[in-house]
Amino acid sequence: MASGRIYPETEIRRRGTRRMSAMTPPSCPTLRHAPGGGVALSGEWTLAGILRTPAVHLALLAAAARASRWDLSAVTRMDSALAVLLWRLWAGRFPEEMEISPAARAALERIAVLPAAEPISGAGEESALIGGLRRMGTFTLGIVHNALGLIDLLGRLALAVGFLCRHPKGIPWKEFSANIYRAGVEALPVSALVGFLIGVTISYLSALQLKTFGADIFIVNILGIGIIRELGPVLVAVLVAGRSGSAMTAQIGVMRVTEEIDALAVMGVSVTLRVVLPKVAALLLVMPLLVVWSCMAALLGGALAAWKELDLSVIYFFSALPDAVPIANLWIGLCKGALFGVLISLIACHFGLHVRPNTESLSRRTTASVVSAITLVIIADAILAVFTRNFGV
């Protein structure tokens, strides 16, 4: 047993002298069978001792069933773990024939006076049907609860904006700019890289198909409309939800756990105004810009791939772009970006503000925040696709 190593008989000191280890090796628990079905225990009966000598533990378990007489008079120490074990083996009462040392008796009596355990009233097993219904109900109610929470937060934000219109001094510029930097500027490299690679991929795939029809020129239309109108905003939204949305939920969540949110409220600082609004405003501003940036990278990637695959010059690609893609598409893309930004930040803040003060809740809420943000973005995108089908195509 590994724990045995802690009680070496001797150890070699650095100076080369040998001396006893810091603790005397505690005398191990020992069990002897006395004639006539008796069992004699001696030494230190502690959890550590049992861990070191598992054989004694097994011997005790085996002996308990048929021992008629117990001799514990040589037990020098007994901890509660072993007292509990013995008490259980004795089925909750002292054996009739017993000799016992004061140390062991004290330990056992502490167990003996414990009030009887209440049966742990676990919720009774429910049938699969009921359980399924219950889970479905919980899930639905959860969605309703979160939807109401989002509306509530939106209302608070509107009030905060109204307040700031009347008291422009209170606008949290510093937080606003910090959020723009963190969610926007720091996201530039990754969004450009992802955009560029997606542009290259889609261009290659489309080029292969278009070549077979001899419709090479239409690569500009496909890439232009597809990227600016759909792919750009959704791609950036997914990236930002993963990058900034999770960070926002975790930050607000930890502030909840450490009661910083309460501290702010107590100092008369509106949490909505100082914590939530700068995040929402920053994403509202930054997302359209990121959409433009990442669309540029995607179109560049697409143009380069088209040049390589279809021998279409990059200059031609970009000069044909304005004719192939009506400007309405750009506006739709920008509006989507802004909308997605608001959605992501609202959801992130909502989940952050509802973190319960424990680590489990924090991790669940952060996951829920990112998953719901991405899901909602895609739902919103689908709805918008239906409503804007007559514009810009």
């Binding site: 802690i6 810091a22 005397t24 959890l47 550590a48 049992i50 773990a81 509990v84 003060p357 809740s361």
Partner: protein
Amino acid sequence: MTKPLPVPVIDMRGIWSRYREVIIHKDLDFRVRTGEVVALVGGSGSGKTTLLREILGLLPPYRGNVRLFGHDLQTPDALLQRDIRRRLGMLFQQGALFSALPVFDNIAFPLRELGFLDEAWIAELVRLKMTMVELEPEHARLMPSELSGGMIKRVALARALALEPELLLLDEPTAGLDPARSQGFVRLIRALQQRLNLTVVLVTHDMETLCGLGCEIAVLAEQRILTRGSLDTVRAFPHPAIEQFFNLPSTAKG
């Protein structure tokens, strides 16, 4: 059965600690023997908590050597390290309960980690520990966030005592408790200390705690242990830091 050899439970020699450029301890020696109750006192920034963290092995000293039960905690042997740690219990100032686990599982955690006890055995032991620290059985299912400050301390103490350690370390055990609660808690620690024959090292600011535990006092100042002894001996020691500490019963935390 031989008497325990007088080898210290905690043996710190020539400890130097520094935080960035600031030297906190300078050639400090600190020894605690079996059954002793020692309180570390000192002004803010005198390095009480640092010393405690060094005893626990959470923070290796800059220079010097810490031995617990005669073993160096900075050993690369992970099993030995684990076994040494199992012989000590720590009560953190904020409790440091696992916030995702209810009270029962918090106390059961070190027992389950042994991987040796069955659930019924664990349940009985947890019940016993809860009685020991005067918690009601119905508290077992509460989450740490639902507990009051005093209850958090009790649960944390029960968890620290789960393996019946030989050494108990307490960081500000009564901080954040009202006087009545704090007195009760001190009495509880005292009773458990005597019953389980614990060696206790605590950091505190609270005079009541010092008197209630009837412990030895080690005053940390000037980067070392200035003096050590009973309350009266320490009080009589002529030094500005001691006058400041005892004349102004500080309520601030360090």
